[in-house]
Symmetry: C2
Subunit: 225 residues, 2 copies
């Protein structure tokens, strides 16, 4: 096992997940009270260790699955966090990932089971270790991503109104958008399809429901890179 690199030291590798959700017009993440030492009781991201038979990406997927029961979530690596004493107990280097989920797909009983809750991104308390840094970087990367690729629908139900979509963009960017300009821009995106369905939950008149068309997106020449 140690034939090549035995003179070097090994470290524990963990993954930590910044799980973004959108609810009540606000961008939120899932955090919980840490249930293990060191740091028991502190607010923390959900994480896990990378084991020897899985890649780091797989460890992140597995951790997300344990937490949400969902597979194939949209997930991107944020980066490695490797200060010597970032973990108060041992030398642990952590790779952070962010994921986008539709909060409706997330069952409330899982929140209790894992002792987690949704917290508004603007009101994150002090977190364990360097987790606040991770959240900050994840948020910046996610903002950047949303500005260039239509990943927003992953935070919404399969069918959504344009107002919902606009509120989502506003929450992520932290700035209000002009309704007419926003709709003009969406209309140019062939991969956001209007359906004939109408949502009446948020207005008397009702609003058309839209959906994301993945095929149209992949065929859009503007996004062939």
């Amino acid at each position: 096992m140690t034939q090549f690199y035995s003179e070097h030291s090994k470290v524990w590798l963990s993954v930590d997940c910044i799980i973004f959700g959108f609810d009540d017009g606000k961008l939120k993440i899932l955090i919980g009270k840490r249930q293990m030492d060191p740091g028991r009781g502190e607010w923390s991201l959900y994480g896990g260790f990378v084991s020897s038979d899985e890649s780091v990406d797989e460890a992140a997927s597995r951790t997300l699955y344990e937490l949400t029961g969902l597979r194939n979530l949209y997930m991107r690596q944020v980066g490695a966090f490797g200060k010597v004493d970032r973990d108060p107990g041992e030398r642990v280097v952590s790779i952070a990932y962010y994921a986008l989920i539709n909060v409706n797909d997330y069952e409330d009983n899982l929140l209790k089971e894992h002792g987690l809750q949704w917290v508004n991104i603007e009101e994150i308390p002090q977190l364990y270790s360097d987790h606040n840094e991770m959240v900050k970087k994840a948020r910046k990367m996610m903002q950047q991503k949303l500005a260039h690729e239509p990943v927003g629908f992953r935070l919404l139900p399969a069918l959504f109104t344009l107002t919902q979509l606009q509120r989502l963009y506003e929450a992520v960017n932290g700035a209000e958008l002009d309704k007419r300009n926003f709709r003009k821009r969406i209309k140019e995106m062939d991969y956001i399809e209007k359906t004939e369905l109408i949502d009446k939950t948020s207005s008397k008149r009702g609003a058309y429901l839209y959906r994301f068309n993945k095929r149209a997106y992949n065929e859009d020449p503007n996004f062939k890179i």
Copy 2:
């Protein structure tokens, strides 16, 4: 030592460096033939192991210093590469970093000492393990960075001509730029200062030399983020 996480397995952590330089109008990186097993003799990035008393960032700085003799290089993390079998010998997870250096600061004897050479970014051969992936991602990130922040001067001498700067942007973007539009854009950047010095090495008439003013950059309200 293992009081908290002993049920989990540890891994070796390495850093790999994508060192960008600009010479002869071309964007290049430093690669060499690997001098250790496994993979001896294959083209490879320069790397090293993270030791127990240094952060991952420090390991990258140290590795860059060993290689170049330079400290405080511009350096950014590319990300963690963690496939199970990415290293043919052992489980090694690697954190890639890119760095920008002025090739004139790099002494040629170091090239020989480390068995390295500058290779045009468009002509990178097949590299050891997943190093080609690292280069690809590093290049994309560097492009992105250069498009939004004036980091280009780190690839140039302290004094440079506008033509040099333009060639640099062209090499990084892989596309030609219009000379007049480019110069107009540069003129608006107060942190790129014209000097009274003239460079005559590349033309009979001579071209004004410019320099980057860090203070002006930090005070530029457009870049307060």
